[in-house]
Amino acid sequence: MGAQLRVYKRRIRAITATKKITKAMEMIAASRIVKAQRKVAASMPYATELTRAVTAVATGSNTKHALTTEVEQPSRAAIVLITSDRGLAGGYSSNAIKQAERLTERLRGEGKEVDTYIVGRKGLAYYGFRERKVADSWTGFTDSPAYADAKRVAGPLIEAIQTETAEGGVDELHIVYTEFVSMMTQNPVDGRMLPLSLDEAVEESGTKGEILPLFDFEPSAEDVLDALLPRYVESRIYNALLQSAASEHAARRRAMKAATDNAGDLIKSLSRLANAARQAEITQEISEIVGGASAMADATAGSDK
């Protein structure tokens, strides 16, 4: 076999192996999207009911709670950034990181100090490489987050917002995650969790225009709100984690599909080149034989004369 042909054959073999891997990853991601979507749907009733309850307390009572009223001069804010633990998901993590950068820029522009909290190894690596300060981070569950994980993330955040700003607490809590719109579309979005903006909460729970009844609070409106808001933060983070997980799988599926298609194209064009190389080899051999034979014939014909 000619050297040229051997090189082509080797490259085709290598790409075929890669294609098998990317194809497998694509199929795994596709099956996980469905599972992740189901989890998002299963968490919806709790989130909706909770938002309804929060809206009911906040609108139905005159309670002034630290977590629902805006500070006049907010000076510190916290951002939770949700990225993935693993790569090979196209622009998934970097899009979320970019969104967080934009938000940080905006908040700094408004004169606020920003604390960053990170979920996922990719975001942590990005901040670590640039030697930026990270207030806290969590890794290892972005594939399929459980409610306990959301609770773990929410704990320090709730603590931070309940601490006085002068003692290292924060006035605002923002979250950056990737919203799962459909299999093809996932958008990085940012939103403010606290202080609670009631209009948004009303829109989310789908209770717009609905008149909420006058509730009787047990034991009291303040206590109910005190207990509700941490749960509300947890539920929002849980929902964001689930949506991000679904988006991550969708992004990975798309990236791996592109890689598989690309490998297919490469194999095709390399096969063409290999075929051409083999044909050229054969043609050359034939012309050598023919050339050799005619030279022999010429030689014998010459000796006869």
Partner: protein
């Protein structure tokens, strides 16, 4: 037909039970509370404890609920809990083991959770 109220028992990650009921008894931070159809709108904080639902068919559904909220309005009752398990779903042996372990490790929260689970099953 007796008056009914619609009950939704939802945990953070799933819908645990939903249906019609005539009476729901739950434990709030200020004591046990019973809700029947036509109760005034209510929003309360739940303790961990068993929740008893008397269904309109006359059956009783018991669930162990660990922290959460009860909200009632327009004859619709929602029980929101971080963790909620129906009595039929609870593995008694596992709960007992968890109770033992919690006692030996002096983990008050875990002990309480296991205790609530067991009480939901045995009905005390």
């Amino acid at each position: 037909m007796a008056a009914e109220l619609h009950v939704e028992l939802v945990a953070a990650d799933r819908n645990v039970w939903s249906g019609e009921a005539t009476l729901v008894v739950a434990r709030t931070t200020s004591g046990d509370i019973g809700v029947m159809p036509g109760h005034q709108p209510l929003l309360g904080v739940l303790e961990s404890g068993p929740v008893t639902i008397r269904t309109s068919e006359g059956n009783t559904v018991v669930a162990a609920v660990h922290g959460g909220f009860i909200s009632f309005a327009d004859n619709k009752l929602s029980l929101l809990a971080e963790i909620a398990e129906l009595a039929d779903e609870i593995d008694v042996q596992r709960a007992e083991r968890a109770l033992e372990r919690a006692k030996s490790e002096a983990d008050a929260a875990a002990e309480r959770r296991a205790d609530v689970r067991l009480r939901a099953v045995t009905g005390h």
